[in-house]
Symmetry: C2
């Protein structure tokens, strides 16, 4: 666990080197796109677990999309120089993303773990379990937003 | 195959009913986010298959993200009333999306098939095979853009 955390921190630190050819405005747009697409899929799961009817197939599709985005390595899009700038809109990344790397790595790992679990639970098809897991997943989103995202 | 195509067309037609509570500007923003995030992942695969070094793990992550987005049911985001409007930017959806449903269904199914194959080929780890499959996948993106997306 400790070594995985250090690896995550090291990968975030290296991201700038590996993706040096990426334009800052593209990196910002692409990460905003990832969060924007996850927002749709979170909304879909929410509607299913809180609504009158539960559509297993729709929750599976949504959870799989969130899982794949969570595991895609978006840390690489937080290049040096992308703490300011505009993609689809002005970035709302807080400076702490680049200064509190251990805390960020823990938040990212918690999110990934809950996203992986969400996909597993969705595949099982139990609506109550999906609702419980959706709450855990949403909690990791909120935790990271509280610490690392500038408020609306 | 014929019945799957008819099903796809029917699902697109039904999307408006099933997701009537979604705001048009959100639907447009969410679909632009899906394409935006796929753009990053296509760029990553391209860099790997055309560059000096091939990073299997990065291609797998990128291909898995594209596959999950392709299979997420984005057709539901083309609600009636979203042929005009602004999400992250003014929509570039052509009116033909709502009038040429059989042609659109075929384009969507071709894209899905190549995205699924891309994920399978990426997992195999053969750089040459990934390059060939990337070409096929990119071809289905371009085909759909030519017919259904307003040019830059």
């Amino acid at each position: 666990m400790k070594s995985r955390l250090l690896l995550a921190v090291a990968l975030i630190a290296l991201a700038g080197t590996a993706s040096a050819q990426v334009k800052p405005e593209d990196a910002i747009k692409w990460r905003q796109s990832g969060y924007g697409f996850m927002a749709w899929n979170m909304a879909r799961i929410k509607a299913n677990v809180e609504g009158a009817a539960y559509n297993k197939e729709e929750v599976v599709k949504a959870a799989n999309a969130i899982q794949a985005i969570a595991n895609s390595g978006m840390g690489a899009l937080y290049l040096p120089g992308t703490d300011k700038g505009t993609g689809w809109e002005k970035t709302r990344a807080k400076p702490e993303i680049w200064t509190e790397k251990e805390k960020l790595g823990k938040a990212a790992m918690a999110f990934n773990a809950e996203a992986n679990e969400m996909a597993k639970v969705a595949a099982g098809g139990d609506a109550a379990a999906a609702k419980a897991q959706f709450g855990k997943l949403a909690g990791t989103c909120k935790g990271c937003h509280d610490d690392f995202k500038i408020k609306d």
